[in-house]
Each structure stands twice: as C-alpha cells, then as structure tokens.
Amino acid sequence: MLEQIEGSQAVAKTVARCRPEVICAYPISPQTHIVEGLSRIVKAGELAPCEFVNVESEFAAMSVAIGASATGARAYTATASQGLLYMTEALYNASGLGLPIVMTVANRAIGAPINIWNDHSDSMSQRDSGWIQLYVESNQEAVDVHIQAFRLAEELSLPVMVCMDGFVLTHAMERVEIPEQEQVDGFLAPFEPRQVLDPAAPVTIGAMVGPEAYTEVRYLAHYKQMQALDRIPEVAGAFEQAFQRPAGGLLREYRTGDAQTIIVALGSVLGTIEDVVDELREQGVRIGALGIKTFRPWPREEVRRALQHASRVVVLEKALSIGIGGIVAQNVHGALEGLPVTVRTAIAGLGGRPITKRSLRRLFTEAHSDQLHELTFVDLDHSLVDGELARMVASRRSGPHAENMLRELGIVGARPV
C-alpha cells in the first residue's frame, strides 16, 4: 500500500511483515523510531508469534539475536553509531557462527566528539566483520532491501546489515509503497536453519578451533560472501519480478556510458549527486555516477567494469580512515588495478554536515579538469583548524580541541552553510 510515512515506520512495518520471531533492541538515535514502531506492532499482537526483548545494551541485543538465531528463530535488531561499535565483538561472533541475523544500521557518526548526525563512520568501521553490507538510497529502497536481506541471510547463513542514512532517511516523511503481507510471504520462505540447538539432535556450536582449522572456517565465510556476489543480483532480480520495481543489487550506474568522470558514492547522497550530474551534463560535461549498493562483499569485477572507461573517478565518502583517507576509495583503487584511471577521494558530510549541490558542483568541476588533489575534505573550514593548531603551539595546556573550536565558531548553527 502506498503511504505517506516516515522512513523508520516504513522499515518497522516492513520488518514486521518479514515475520521475525525475536526482536531485541536497545535505543540509540537515530534508530529509535524503528524499534519503537516494532515494539508497538508486537505489543498490539499484529506480529505473532514474536518476542520483543528490551535489552540492557547493544552488546546484549546482538547476543540475544545470536541465541535466538541459533535456536532457529528469525532474529532482527537495529542500531547505529556507538551502539554498533559496542556490539562489535558480537558482530564478528554472529558472522563467524554463520547466523543469518538481519540488522538495520541507521548510519550515524562516531564520537568523540559525540555527534548524533549522519555519516557512514559506524558501518564502515565494521566492513571486515563478516556481515553482508547493503546501502540504500531511499526509504522505498530501505523497505525493499530489508525483505531481500532476510532471504539473502537465510539462503547463505550469513548476517546482513542494511545501512540507511540516519535522519536523512530514517526521519524523512515520503511516499513509500509498503508491500502487503501476502506479497512478502510469497517472496520470503520460513526460516530453515542449517544449525539449530535442538535437544532431539544435540550439537555443539562455538567450539574452540585451533590453527588446524581456523583458516578454513574463515575462508568459508569469505567463500560464502563471494557466493553472495551472485546471489545478491539474483535475489534483486527475483524481487523486481515479484514486486515490479528495482531495488538493491550490487551497483547502480547513472549516465556512466560515455562519462569521462564518474562519481562513486553510497546511500542517500546519490540523489544529490545525480542532480548535479544532470546539471553538468546540460553544460556538456561528460560525467556520471556509480552507486555502490553492496559494499560487502565488494563487487570488484562489477566496479571495474563500470569504471574502466572513465578517465577519472571521484569517490565521495561519508567516512574517514584516519591516517590514510578514503575507505571506499581503497577498494575502488583495487578494482581498477592496472587501468589508467585516476582515483580521487573526497571526504564529505561527516557528522551530518550538509552536502550541498553548490559544493558538489565545485568539486566535480575541479575533478573534471584534473585539479583535485588525491584527498579532499569537502567544505573543510581551514581557518578553524589553523586556529586550533596555533593554540597548540602557543600553550602546552591548550585544552580540548572540540570545545576550543566551538568557542571560536561562536553560536552553533549561526553560520551560513
């Protein structure tokens, strides 16, 4: 049914239609509306049978999901930011055990400095955790990819993270088609676990494994993710056939055919990027965009194929690997190995800083004329940084960086963007 609905509520309704049997949640902005919605649905008896467990931490949330999934229940949770980091140990455990848990990450920055706004620092930090990572562009896609996520997870016995931009998507009201229960039931078969804690057929799960087999167990996880490179487009194709609209998949190309410059990005910022691409196209600039829908597993061959004819690529990242720069860019570099394509990294939108069309137009124009340095911080306030560097030189006890810079900035939010 087509509804004017908040992204979080749309995800909550859709997840409920995927019939999870155990939902465990610990509140963290901007994930809260999703689990609030689900708690209402479960309490009202609209999703039965389902246990909604209010846990004491994200570490416990993922641990409850692990126990539930190992007992053969379809398990779901949602988190963001600090919460994702707090459950890191359990994330690796869930994937190492091969438990098909589905989790929404309402992407948010990581402190310090504490910041509740959107970027991709949280999920990017877990790119090696063994979870499949799917990034969505819109709330419609968030809805559609969650349904695919359960099917993918359970087919492959791997956990899947659906990453949607916090606030930008989770709190945005827009028209979304929420699939009917029968449609979802038709697409998503009941969970049939590969391993289950069953007194009728006892198994030991999570045994100590030494050097003699640890590599093989880890390799198998990698092998299954490589299998996912085939399964993700197949599941997306099956979804399109069943629901009559495209969603998910590995990549989405936008006007890349004859493009000399291609912008690579993930998530909701692709909409803004495509608008700017359109504007520049009108001026005769041969530019396009490549949206990464699946970041783990990394679709190396598909990315190479999509970018190989370009002269240059700009990877626009909402995350920063401190000490090197781009995270996605490193992966893109690898995909383009041996090809004469220049790769530039642009860090933008950290901690919720708006990524404006004006800034992107300037960035893309500079990129197209090969004026970009290898690493660019979009809209970085150099004077603010220089001021703090000067204070550090002037005094040994110069104080906390963030507070010093805020003081210099004056009233937060008063400056024009």
Binding site: E51, V55, A60, I66, G67, A68, A70, G72, A213
Partner: protein
C-alpha cells in the same frame, strides 16, 4: 564393600558416611542423580580439565541434575573460560546436550535469546541453562546477567566460581578473596595479595533482583547442589546458582584436596551456603564442624604469604573477622538465625 552385576557393568556399592554422594545403598528416591546408571552425562569423559578440577565436577553434577529435571530437554549456553575450553577441543566435544558458546561476556544474553526463540515457537518444554566462571559472570558478563535477571527471562544461570581468571593464568577477578595471591595481585609489598575492601557478592546482588530463586552451593556437598538445581528447575523465570569450585592450579592446592577445601570454605564461614526466594534468604546451611580460617588458608599456596616468611597475624585475623561476620550475619551456627533486617538496613545505609 560389595559388588554386583546390574546392567552388564560391574557397579561398586560403598558407604562412606553422611557426606557421601552417589550412594546406591539409600532408598531410590534419596539417591543422587549421579548414582543413576541412566544419568545424562551431560559433560562426558574425555575433556581436558585439570586433575581435581572443581568446575568440571560442579558442572557435571549441576548439568546432569538439570537434565534430569528437564527430562533431557535442555539447551546450554556457555561463557568463554576454562569450562568452554576444556570441554570443546576441536573437533571433539564433551557436551551431550545442545550447547553454544558465543563470547566471554554474553552467556546470559545468549540464554535470553534461546529462551525468547523457544517462547516464540510455542515451545514450553525445552529449558535453558546459562553457565560461566566467575570472570564471565561476576565481571565481564555482569551487565548481561543483571539484564537477564530484571527481565525475568526463563533461564537458570549457574556460576562456577573458582575465584579468579584461571583460564588466562590466574588473574584477579571481582570474586577473588582478599589477600589471595593471583598473577595480578602478587604476594609482594606491605599488603600482599588481593586488596582489602574490594570484590562483590554476586549471589546477594542476584537476590536483590528479587528473582524467584537464588542459591549458593559448593562441590563439597554435591547432593545439596543437585537438590538446588532440581529446585531451581521446578520454577520458571530467572534463577541463579553460585557454586564455589576449587581450582588446584590457581589456588595452589593438591588435587586431592579439592573437596576438602570446598568444605573448609563452608565450615570456616568464608563461603556461606544459602537459598533465597524473591529477595529473601529462606534457608541457610549450618556449619557442622566449625574450623578456624587458618585451616583453610594453609592448604593453599595463594595464601602462603600469610604464613611465610613471617606469619601475618594481622591479615589472618582480618580474614577470620570476615568469616566471623558471615557466621553472624547469615546465622551459620546452630541456634542462630539469618539476620535479614541487618542486611536490609545495610543495603539502605
């Protein structure tokens, strides 16, 4: 001693007195779970526990009792630690029941997940046990344990407390007794061993959650442990049993002294054995043969610095005072009552 052939295997009958377990001469209804030829052997032979390991013994008795109470319909979640490591050397496993190990600090939450899954599936017959050592329970798993308690999840959690991180090489935990030498509270300096005034009583904290059942037990009285597991399994909701288990390696004790040490821990008053229901202590095991703490301490090299090179009367007296306070507070001697009010008053001050 006499022997007979019952089921094709030779079974020995023996009687060693009132502390004996597995006594096949008593009436069938009084016999221990371990004495049953058809016991579950939930943790079966072949594991890699040390000689004299109190945790292996405690876990075997507790799990077999839980298996009998559940009619074999039981799932166990285990924290990282000795019990997990010695029982599952890949590709072998000692566990004869469905068993999962996830992490060090999340066994109570994994148990919650199992219980939630069973509930969602309408399965009211399969029961859940969580278990871990003192580190996994009292320290790193404590938040998950408290969460499981306050939600009242249908889990029996058993802590096998050997009073330090034995699996990693005997480091101090919040269950390590004062003055005990561990590899992170070494027997050097003015106040050798674990600091005074630190540590926590996990069983009393569990009781404060007002869950249906909390008990302490030791491997010196395995019939009592079996009975407490049976009692715990007869109720639903969050339940907790804290079992003192000897560690010959970590305590620096002879393997043959494991039971003796656990008994001395109770008879000195250092480890009170009690049961509680919904916030109140309802029964206390009285001391039968009172012993000075010295008798307990001198058998363990973790306390050797109290006796050599100079005898530390001051520290021994402090430990004795701790034991005396337990005896008074829990009413551990005949004729004394558990001082419920005192505890409550202390909790409020």
């Amino acid at each position: 001693m006499k022997t007979t052939d019952l089921t094709g295997t030779r079974v020995k009958f023996f009687q060693t007195g009132s502390f004996a377990v597995g006594n096949r001469l008593v009436e069938p209804e009084l016999r221990s779970v371990q004495s049953e030829p058809e016991r579950a052997n939930a943790i079966t032979c072949g594991h890699r526990a040390c000689q004299g390991c109190g945790e292996a013994l405690g876990a075997r008795y507790a799990l077999d009792a839980a298996m009998r109470a559940a009619g074999g319909d039981l799932i166990a979640a285990n924290a990282t630690g000795c019990l997990e490591v010695f029982s599952t050397p890949y590709p072998e496993t000692s566990w004869q029941l469905p068993w999962i190990h996830s992490l060090f600090g999340n066994a109570p939450a994994v148990s919650t997940g199992i219980a939630a899954a069973l509930r969602a599936k309408g399965n009211t017959h399969t029961r859940v046990v969580g278990q871990g050592g003192d580190g996994g329970t009292v320290d790193i798993g404590f938040a998950c344990l408290s969460g499981m308690f306050e939600r009242g999840d249908d889990v029996l959690y058993i802590c096998y407390d050997n009073e330090a991180y034995m699996n990693t090489g005997v480091q101090r935990s919040a269950a390590t007794p004062e003055a005990a030498r561990t590899s992170t509270t070494q027997a050097v300096g003015e106040q050798p061993g674990a600091p005074w005034g630190q540590g926590k009583n996990a069983a009393l904290i569990a009781l404060a959650h007002e869950i249906p059942y909390v008990a302490t037990a030791t491997i010196a009285d395995l019939r009592d442990l079996e009975r407490k597991v049976q009692t715990a399994m007869e109720v639903r909701g969050a339940r907790y049993i804290h079992v003192l288990v000897t560690c010959p390696l970590g305590w620096g004790a002879a393997s043959g002294d494991s039971i003796r040490l656990a008994r001395l821990a109770t008879q000195t008053g250092l480890f009170p054995v009690w049961e509680g229901e919904r916030g109140d202590i309802v029964s206390v095991t009285k001391i039968r043969h009172p012993e000075p703490v010295e008798r307990y301490l001198e058998l363990q090299t973790r306390f050797r610095h109290l006796f050599s090179p100079v005898r530390r009367e001051d520290m021994i007296a402090r430990i004795q005072a701790r034991a005396d306070r337990n005896i008074e507070r829990f009413g551990l001697l005949d004729g004394a009552e558990y001082q419920q009010e005192e505890l409550h008053n202390e909790g409020g001050s």
